[in-house]
Each structure stands twice: as structure tokens, then as C-alpha cells.
């Protein structure tokens, strides 16, 4: 491809990204303000109830809540572009600071969860494809379907009940015990249960995907040729079929980042795990507009990026797509 085209290609992708983010910000801004409830509650807490009508009015004025929504949006946008996302009403801190203190926890939970899901699903998928229709495959297919039908919050509660309450092996909430902020072992202990739920919930779906993709590949003619030339089952499945399935699996995983992330949020809430998920929940509950806005944007950007990257991987990684155009002998003239 020529340089100019490359520029055009990436320019288009960037434009899609920017427009999506803009639309998202407008939507979130309007919807959050249209939701019933009083944002003063989050800023002043209990005090709001004791405030007079004039005091409330003054407070609203101060927070800029009386202006029409579009004026508020433009003001927010101007500040945001300068890097000022406002303060959190509830925490009385810069939004970025509040998020900064939490995001690490979510990245650890979501990131490890994602990697484990990705690798685990790959392994299970291969295992099932290898033993197609034999008992390990049957068992995993049926058990997995059952498992992914269980809602996340319910599974979380059961886990807490069994491992924390009854057996008392693992802590039921938080990211670490008081005073153990830098104790890796303590943190790991707190991670086990939420991580298990995140992985268990998503593992099967992707394992099933890779299993089916692999089995579809094993029906291809080149597999028969591979067998005919004496390749072992292992070489055919891993060297040929897996190789051909991986591109679509990777792009699927890129697209599914938000899916796994969404699951993390719910799990965080149930385990009171101090991450972005619980924060988002609180910010919506307390009408903490500035915080909610940034959290929604953050999540949205991850979703949009995931989709974009998935699409790009899909287009590029498979030589068949690049190639479709020309074979060696066709009567093609390039101008």
C-alpha cells in the first residue's frame, strides 16, 4: 500500500474513534443529568436536608447546576480539553485523583482475569477439539454451558458463602486488609475469589468458540492432505488448524475486552473490591456527575478501542484477506 493510502486508512480509523467518543460524551452527559435525584446530596451529604431553599439555590449556582444542559456540557468540554475534569462531589477530590487511586486494582483484577480467560479458553478449546465428542469434550461442553448460565453476582455470593463464611479460607471483601497495602500475599489472597468468578464466567464462552473454530478448520481439505503426508494429529491441530484459527480468536478477544470488563464491574461490587466498578456504581448512585462522566468515558473508550483493534487485527493478520485480489497468472494490469 502506498503512504498516502496508509495515512488515509489510519485517518479514517482515528476519525471513527473521535466521533464515537464525542457522541458518547454527549449521551452520557445528558442522560446523567436527566436521571432523577439531587446532585447536592452527594456534595453536601446529610447537610442538604438542613439547607434552606436560598442556600440550596446558591449552592446550585456555585456548582453551575442551574445553567441549561448544553451550556454545562460546553463548559465541561472546555475544561476537559484542558485536562481539568472537575472534582468529585462525594470525595471532594480531583476526579483524576479518585480514579487514579482505584484504577490499579481494576487493572489487576481485569487484566489477570482477561489473560487467564484467554489462555485457559485456548487450552480448554484445544482439549475439547482434540477429544471431539469423547467424554472430556462432552463434559466440558455441558458443564461449561451450565456454568455460564449462572449470573455473576449469584456465583460471587455462593463463593463468599462457601469459602469465606463456612470454610473461612479466604477473605470476602476488599483488596487488602488494613495495614497490608503493600503485602503482595495479602493482596493475592483477596484476589482469588473475584478472579475465580471473572474467569469462570467467561472462560467457557471463549473455549467453546475456539473449539468450534478448530473443528471447522479440521474439516478443511488441507487437513486431509496433512494426514496424507503423514503428519501427526498434534502437528495438524497445533501447527495448521490452531495457526489458522488464532487470528480470528485474537480479534474476537480484542472485541470482547469490554465484555470481560463489564463482568469485572459486577464482581467488584459484590466483593466490595475498591476498583473502577464499585466507583462507577457509587458515582451513579450519588449523582457524582464529574466522576460518572469520566468513568463512563473511560469505559467507553476501552470498548471503542477494543472493537477498533479487533477489526484491524482481523483485516491484517490473515494473508488471505490481503491476497484476495491477484493470483500469479491472472490477466491483471496495474496502473
Amino acid at each position: 500500500m502506498m503512504k498516502q493510502n496508509l495515512l488515509l486508512y489510519w485517518g479514517k480509523k482515528a476519525l471513527v474513534f473521535l466521533v464515537s467518543v464525542m457522541v458518547l460524551s454527549v449521551a452520557v452527559f445528558y442522560i446523567s443529568r436527566l436521571a432523577p435525584g439531587d446532585p447536592l446530596m452527594s456534595y453536601y451529604g446529610e447537610r442538604t436536608e438542613k439547607m434552606s431553599v436560598e442556600e440550596k439555590e446558591a449552592a446550585r449556582e456555585k456548582l453551575g447546576l442551574n445553567d441549561p444542559i448544553h451550556v454545562q456540557y460546553v463548559r465541561w468540554l472546555q475544561n476537559a480539553l484542558k485536562g481539568d475534569f472537575g472534582i468529585s462531589y462525594k470525595y471532594k477530590q480531583d476526579v483524576t485523583e479518585v480514579i487514579g487511586s482505584r484504577i490499579g486494582n481494576t487493572l489487576i483484577l481485569g487484566g489477570i482475569g482477561f489473560v487467564l480467560t484467554f489462555l485457559g479458553a485456548l487450552g480448554l478449546g484445544i482439549l475439547c477439539a482434540w477429544h471431539e465428542d469423547k467424554w472430556p469434550d462432552q463434559l466440558l461442553c455441558k458443564g461449561g454451558t451450565l456454568l455460564s448460565c449462572i449470573p455473576e453476582f449469584w456465583l460471587s455470593l455462593v463463593m463468599i458463602l462457601v469459602f469465606s463464611v463456612t470454610l473461612q479460607w479466604l477473605p470476602s471483601s476488599g483488596a487488602y486488609d488494613v495495614g497490608h497495602k503493600h503485602d503482595i500475599l495479602n493482596r493475592a489472597e483477596h484476589l482469588i475469589l473475584p478472579l475465580t468468578v471473572v474467569v469462570l464466567e467467561h472462560l467457557w464462552y471463549y473455549a467453546y468458540m475456539i473449539r468450534n473454530k478448530l473443528l471447522e478448520e479440521t474439516r478443511a481439505d488441507y487437513v486431509l492432505l496433512g494426514k496424507a503426508k503423514g503428519l501427526s494429529k498434534k502437528k495438524i491441530l497445533l501447527g495448521h488448524c490452531l495457526r489458522n484459527s488464532l487470528p480470528s480468536y485474537i480479534s474476537l478477544m480484542a472485541i470482547s475486552v469490554p465484555h470481560v470488563l463489564g463482568g469485572t464491574y459486577i464482581v467488584e461490587k459484590v466483593f466490595s473490591y475498591p476498583g473502577i466498578g464499585t466507583l462507577s456504581f457509587e458515582s451513579a448512585q450519588y449523582h457524582d456527575y464529574n466522576l460518572l462522566m469520566v468513568l463512563c468515558m473511560l469505559t467507553g473508550i476501552v470498548v471503542i478501542l477494543g472493537n477498533l483493534i479487533g477489526g484491524i487485527i482481523n483485516e491484517r493478520i490473515d494473508p488471505r484477506i490481503k491476497a484476495a485480489e491477484v493470483t500469479e497468472t491472472s490477466e491483471v494490469t496495474w496502473d
Binding site: 485480489e325 491477484v326 491472472s330 490477466e331 491483471v332 494490469t333 496495474w334
Partner: protein, 298 residues
Amino acid sequence: MPETLLDVEHLSHVFRLSKHAHIRAVDDVSFQLHRGEILGLVGESGSGKSTVARCLMNIYQPTAGVIRYQGVNILDRREFARNRKMLETRRQIIFQDSASSLNQRMKVADIIAEPMHIHHIKPPRGSLREEAAYQLKYVGMDASYLDQYPSELSGGQRQRVAIARALSMEPELLVADEPIASLDVSIQAQIVNLFKHCNQEHGFSILFIAHDLAMVEFLCHRVGVMYRGRMVELAPTAELFGDPRHAYTKALLSAIPYPDPVIQKNRPRVDFEELEFDREGAFTEVTPGHFVLQEDRR
């Protein structure tokens, strides 16, 4: 001199693959099809023979050239619109893959009657169903197949249904695009006989596109050979097979395997190198009715 049914002049069709690549699928092709004749069109895959067929049927709008059907310029929008009904009923096409060209969810009777229904033609034999039964009988199948679905038929039977559907419009021109390519040898013979019958008994003119040269030799009155989008030779069948002039035609004919072990194993084969091909030559009449693409000796 027989009447010219179809007159193709300097037909070219270019496919754009992308912004920077195009393919000359059909390149300056001229020929005539006379009334009552079977004209064969042969060539390897990608030589442009199917594209020619599609241009003739107004499926593709060619990049350049003129196609006249009984004097009507079918590529001219206005002339086409004026003669639309005549053009859509008198010309019929049959495809190679009848499994996908017949609607799988329609019964045989409805498939055959559909064109009549679309063109609001009053069935000459009473009802649409009777008409379908008549056409089916003509192609050698009895009325018990009327209520079957294409998937219940064999490949040869499906091809017969496709032919029956085309015949229901009482066409003058049948364009058959590789109609026997996916059939078995003994079934191919049955279908080829059917085409021969349509032509001899009812005077249908047929453009028969195939890559099986032996069948073309048996069936067609004249044969055109295409290579890389160009027509390289066009002659009466006996002359083309007996006295091929173009190097590619010679190579092609020598490559047809002859079903006799002794003859076939001792037959010399002529090779044709792609690089020898001069696509810029002129299509010249060397003896009456025998056209050859000749090298440009400027």
C-alpha cells in the same frame, strides 16, 4: 445467407479489482450468431467466455462495444426499454450450477411457470401447471416430478428443469453457460442430446459455452476459441478441429485426451507459452468464415 440473430461487435468488459488494478475479462470480441445455429465458445477458466454470456444477457453492462439482437442495440438503455419484453422472453440463459440457480424452496412446477407468471404470459396449454407439465415432458421428465423440490432431483434432472424453464418462454436464443460441466459422463450425453434436439426439431439458436472440447465438436456448428479475454479463432467446427490456425487453438486441441490408449499415448502435444501470446493482433478472416487473431506485423 442465414439471418443474423445476434451481432456482437468489439465487445470489451473490464473489471476493476481495486483502485489500481483492473482485469480485461473480455477484450475486443466480435462474432455473429445465426438463426438456427449452435455456436460453441471454448476456452480455459478465466478466458472471458462466461463474461461474454453475461453481457449478452444484459447481466453485465460492458465497457465498450455493441451487441445487437435482431437489430436492437441491447446496450442502449432506451432501445432496451422499448423492447424489454421481447428481449427478456426471447433470450434465455442456463447456468452451470443448477443446484444454486434454481430456488430451493420452490416446487418444480412453480420454477418452470415462474417466468410466464412474471411476464403475464397466458399459458398456451390452459393452466400454468399444464404448461409446466408439457415443458417437463419435452425435456424428458414425467409429470410426477412437478411437486418435487430441486434438492430431491439429481444434477441431470435439475439441469433439465432449468432448460424446461428457459423453454417455457419459447425463446429464440438459448445461452448455455457450462451447462454440462458438473454432470457425469453418461448424463452429459443425455443433456447434449437434448440441446441437439431443441436445435434440430425446433430451431432454437444456442450459444453453448463449455470447456469440454469433445462435446463442443459433437454439438456445435461453429466454434469460437477464447484466450485471456480475446477471441483467437472462430470457424466452422470441422474446419477448426481439422485445420486450426492459431497457436493456442493447436495447443488446446492437442491437449484433449482421446479415449484410446494407443492413440493417446503416442500423440504429440503442442505446448503454448503464455509469453508467445500477442493480444494486440487483428481478428482477420483467413478463409471464408474462418477468423484468426493474427499477429500485428506492423
